[in-house]
Amino acid sequence: MTTEAAIPTEPGKAREYFRTVTKDVAWIAEAPKPHKLWLAALTVAVCAFGWGIFCIYKLVMTGIGVWGNSNTVCWAWDITNFVWWIGIGHAGTLISAVLYLTRQHWRVSINRSAEAMTIFAVMAAGLFPLLHTGRPWFAWWMIPIPNDMGSMWPQFRSPLMWDVFAVTTYMTTSILFWYMGMVPDLATFRDRCAMQGKNLKSAIYGVLSLGWRGSARQWHRYERAYLILAGLATPLVFSVHSVVSFDFATSQLPGWHTTIFPPYFVAGAIFSGFAMVLTLLIPLRYLFNLKHIIKQEHIHAMCRIMLATGMMVGLAYASEFFIAWYSGNPFEQFTFVSRAFGPFWWAYFLMVGNNVLIPQFFWSKWVRNNNILIWFLCICINIGMWFERFVIIATSLARSFLPSAWSYYHPTRYDVGVFVGTIGMFLMLFLLFFRFAPVVAISEVKGASPEAHAGGPGSKGGHH
């Protein structure tokens, strides 16, 4: 942040700063033509999404046999992708809620786009459990509604049902939190469009901003609601990934049946989420000239979080091995030895390399200033975290209790296609969001700036 002493007191100085913030964010949505690179990226994303839709069509019409799943490895890319995406979503909530509660003001530059990332990631995640049921049109069986099958109610003691409730609550909360935060900024867009005579756009933003007029009495309730929502989203985000980890931890399969899973999964989720935030924001920040809003020190902070969470994840990997040895349980020991040195050894070393070794680069300040290198490292972490879930899911299943059932997992083109399709959908939605919505929380950036106190009693003497 700029120094506290620099609060402008001459007339118009603070307003000039506020105007600049508005303009620097709003110009993206107001530019008559989108950036060429943005268009190129959108084209690629739409193509990938289209291919994904085709693969989903084939999958739904044929059955999940088009995937490489087998009786032995019954969960593979589907659930790996689900956990990966939902984990990515968690950084958004962490930035918007946890950092809000801990008064980390730097979050205001990235919280909006991180929240958008959360929603699109959860949308991508939600597809996989739905599709891997094979008959997604029966998904309503998981909703407790009276039906024509007698008193056929869901089994609420199944972690898979907990998952349904956790993920839908998370999705709903994330959307409401995101939208609520966006209303004052949508009102900004509404008023700017009205000033520029764009009546249709102004009407659309007008409906979306619900008639917001920035009244202090409204701000008062708004801020209360925002604080409480942040307070609710924080335990929620921890519960969601804990529940996701229960899908594994409550089973009796060696390699899944561990009490370390909830914290281990949550740390991994935050780790991968921050990697994805940076993967998206580093290029977009250059493309849309947001370098003075999303500052280098914000990237520094995110690198440090990745360094910390990466080491937590590494500690979890080590603890799993220690417990496998310390438990004296031969099945547990076999699973872990086979995880690292068995047929999926390459996946295990991709996981450890990318998740434990790669973040160590963030110790160096030189690395934290080198955005291209950070971007590359973040891609590595994304890959590593995908492999973490794959290693947990596929290697544990491939070498289960019955040696006659052991097998290997080979993905098919539909495994790849659906996954690539969700990446396409995620990028497409994110790029559209970046073009049409307020990508930075304008009102929060203004509120967190020293100019927000201009003209107050503390600034009379030129210092605060």
């Binding site: 049109w137 407790p144 609520m180 008639g211 701000w219 008062h220 209360r224 529940v243």
Partner: protein, 421 residues
């Protein structure tokens, strides 16, 4: 802030006066102005700013919102309904017996109750906040002021409403001037009362979309209260319709038009040749055999030995004893049960010896082949066991029944010489 400008009003002032709108240069000055206005005793006024201004709540005298209470009520409802829902579904309406575990166990119901607590709290925060703020609102007199467009950008405003009991066209203006406003203008309501109503197209949209949303429910309601001879609609056909022929149906693809394909003359399906008539049918030159087969169905030698009799005993005790009893007297557990219910029924006595004139003792007098045939195809109320018991095992039972007959009708002479029974 020293430049006062009385902005010319661009809207004709034919509407009712809503109030005065004053603009301030900085958030701090807005707070100062708000404090002065409040101190002057005004209550119907509000400040407007692009972001929540620090310290404005005490300056304006805003009371703490009751929103947290609403949210608490919502969260409590969520927790209670989560527990009740799970109790009703899993412990009351549809109990699951899983290894005899209790049907109701709170720890496993915590996650869903937890999530519902959060979900309902979130709904109350979100919708409660908008409801208390009286939003969405389709019109507001302030939006008629061009100047007010900047409230979401860099403008800091304070508006005193004309309905305030201290409002006075002269004094209120002076107060706002004195509080350092950089601009001041009167705000009038739109003379057209229709502008204060929901635009027609929004009303039309809500009505139309609600009507459309009700269509599926209307169709479902109609379907529940009417009869139809049409097959029901398969939105998802699952595997109800498969490209295959069912038995005894028509098939155009064959010259005889039948889906059933008969056996090709001169062929026998695998495993159905049953060439050895003794082993498969108990016959010997068209008569019931009195001996045992020489070979089994695969042409291997068929030996009547101790092993076969033991096997026969094992099969007999499983398949025959429920009716015929372990000793073959026809008083197994089923006749016993009939007796306990007051009925009279006894299974055939397999070991009854014929009288001297050759009457009775039907089974004892049966040739082996006929006994085999009876086991295979049944007799009177007894069903055939060919489907359950392979032919070799049926022969083993025949051998065991012969052994039983012998044992049940034995005399002292049957004992080997020298035994001291």
């Amino acid at each position: 802030m020293s430049t006062h400008e009385e902005t010319p009003v661009n809207v004709p002032a034919e509407g009712e006066l809503y109030g005065y709108l004053a603009e301030y240069d900085t958030p701090g000055e807005l707070v100062e102005a708000a404090r002065k206005v409040r101190d002057a005793g005004y209550t119907d006024f509000d400040c407007y700013s692009p972001f929540p201004v620090h310290g404005i709540d005490p300056a304006m005298g805003i009371k703490r919102t009751i929103l947290p209470l609403i949210i608490f009520a919502g969260g409590f409802t969520g927790a209670a309904s989560g527990i009740l829902l799970q109790w009703y579904c899993n412990a009351h309406a549809w109990t699951w017996n899983i290894s005899g575990k209790p049907t109701w166990s709170i720890p496993a119901n915590i996650p869903i109750a937890y999530e519902l607590t959060i979900l309902l709290s979130v709904f109350c925060s979100f919708f409660g906040m908008w409801a208390l703020n009286r939003l969405p609102q389709v019109w507001h007199p302030l939006f008629r002021q061009d100047r007010f467009l900047r409230v979401t950008d860099d403008g800091f405003f304070l508006a005193i409403e004309a309905r305030d009991r201290r409002f006075d066209t002269v004094k209120t203006k002076e107060l706002l001037h004195g509080a350092g406003s950089i601009a001041l203008e009167p705000v009038y309501l739109d003379p057209d009362p229709r502008s204060r109503q929901m635009p027609k197209w929004i009303t039309a949209f809500i009505v139309a979309s609600t009507a459309f949303a009700l269509i599926p429910f209307a169709i479902a309601a109609k379907a529940r209260n009417s009869h139809s001879s049409e097959p029901h609609i398969h939105i998802f056909p699952d595997m109800d319709f498969q490209p295959k022929f069912k038995s005894d149906t028509e098939a155009d693809m064959f010259p005889d038009g039948r889906a059933n394909r008969g056996e090709i003359p001169g062929t026998v399906a695998r495993g159905w040749l049953e060439q050895d008539e003794t082993f498969w049918h108990g016959l010997d030159n068209g008569q019931w055999t009195t001996g045992f087969p020489k070979a089994d169905g695969n042409g291997q030698p068929f030996a009547v030995d101790d092993k076969l009799v033991k096997r026969g005993q094992n099969r007999f005790n499983i398949y025959c004893s429920p009716c015929h009893g372990y000793d073959g007297h026809g008083q197994g557990m089923i006749p016993e049960r009939v007796k306990s219910l007051g009925g009279v029924w006894q299974a055939r006595n397999l070991v009854e010896a014929p009288t001297a004139d050759g009457k009775g003792g039907v089974v004892v007098q049966m040739p082996n082949g006929q006994l085999f045939n009876t086991i295979s195809n049944g007799f009177n109320t007894m069903q055939g066991y060919a489907a359950q018991i392979p032919a070799g095992d049926r022969w083993a039972i025949v051998a065991y029944v012969r052994a039983l007959e012998r044992a049940q009708n034995a005399s002292r002479d049957d004992l080997p010489p020298g035994s001291n029974f």
